[in-house]
Symmetry: C2
Subunit: 248 residues, 2 copies
């Protein structure tokens, strides 16, 4: 009380996408100093990693680490295996019986959060920020609130913190119960440079300009475009193809 | 009934140490076909990785994968940071207030198990074997039964299995409630080549022969030597220094 103010610190998973950028904005607005982690895990394209590096230049970041993971086993996800097609326009045959699309990467969030947990312990940090969202999401099991709760419980038992009982490890997912439109509105309010974020799974190179365009057809593009429309925020994304079907 | 018998399959964390070798022996005796995972994570020495490769030649292994992880943050463990001393003879100043020694690697089991979870999902396997042991162990938080139970619960929610409900992910830790002596006896009964296993954190090179000797002073050597003695199984380990203090 009245003594020196300790700046709260957090580890954040930063992908270069919309959700993690807005999550960083929320953490910044609460005064957090952030250690950013970005994972390279055999993604088909590196645009989002470049965007993550740009984001991590922000004043809220005390450091940023690119962590390379060995590629996931072949055939496990269309997001990492070039032999598989990225589904377009929510084709039903690309979604399995449980509603999980082929872009799901096995255990991805668990692998990322486990690494974040190690950084928390090593740096004596107890908060992990992540941009998951359980409303306008793609049906991935590791974005569900019950999963996050179970991870947090496990994480407390996994580490020194759980034995010493001195502080509690916390997962902070401030976007969990927001729609994509609400996330975009929040990002705009917080001054997050949304135009720098990248969402497309399957970018197209614009040969005339040599720049990347978002395909406008993958699930991620569809969610993003719908979010901007509903938020009534101008969509700054350069799409190769207009993401909406004509309404009757 | 009477149809083709499906061989059960498991993913196993195999380190080259005693516990994971005996765990593989238990899985083999139950008829499992195993996918072995060995992690390279900046360990100070590679002897245990070589031993893991030898073990994975066994007929119970359908495949073996060496997974390289980026080194853990500096200063997080004496097992991975050459700037830190490996504690000897259970010196109390190397153990923190919660009884956790400096050889503890932050979130190590969580990181390994998360990777195993990805392999399970990609290969449609529901059993993960690991050699943790909650009795004669070094006080690591991520070896406790309550941790394993929490990981299992989280893992079921993290993956397709948790959504589809078709099968249940199981962590199998057959040594969890055995003493080191019981593990050694079990290994001897199952014909596990215990002499090929490696436990020492801090090996010494025998300059006359060019081979590695176990130091006989680190916590892992002390637990191993005591286990062989109590099991009344001859200890095949080449120690640089006899691991026991003279009894009065």
């Amino acid at each position: 009380m009245g003594g020196g103010v300790r700046v709260p610190r957090g580890v954040i998973l930063i992908s270069g996408g919309l959700d993690s950028a807005v999550t960083a904005g929320v953490a910044r607005s609460s005064g957090y100093s952030l250690v950013g982690l970005t994972f390279v895990y055999g993604q088909r394209h590196s645009i989002e990693i470049e965007r993550a590096k740009e984001f991590a230049q922000g004043p809220e970041f005390e450091s940023h680490h690119i962590i390379e993971l060995q590629p996931f086993p072949k055939g496990s996800s269309s997001l990492t295996d070039e032999g598989m097609e990225i589904p377009k326009n929510r084709e039903s045959d690309e979604i399995d019986a449980a509603g999980i699309p082929s872009t799901y990467v096995p255990a991805r969030n668990t692998i990322f959060l486990s690494q974040a947990l190690a950084w928390c312990e090593a740096l004596d940090i107890s908060d992990i920020f992540l941009g998951v969202n359980a409303l306008d999401y793609s049906g991935y099991p590791d974005c569900r609130p019950e999963y996050l709760k179970a991870f947090e419980k496990m994480a407390r038992l996994a580490t020194r913190v759980g034995v010493e009982g001195t502080s509690e490890l916390r997962l902070r997912a401030p976007l969990l119960h927001r729609t994509k439109a609400e996330i975009i509105q929040l990002g705009a309010q917080l001054g997050v440079p949304l135009e720098k974020t990248w969402s497309c799974y399957s970018p197209v190179i614009d040969k005339t300009k040599g720049t990347a365009l978002a395909c406008g057809e993958c699930d991620s593009c569809l969610l993003r475009a719908k979010g901007f429309q509903e938020a009534q925020v101008p969509d700054p994304t350069p799409y190769a193809k207009k993401p909406f079907r004509e309404e009757a």
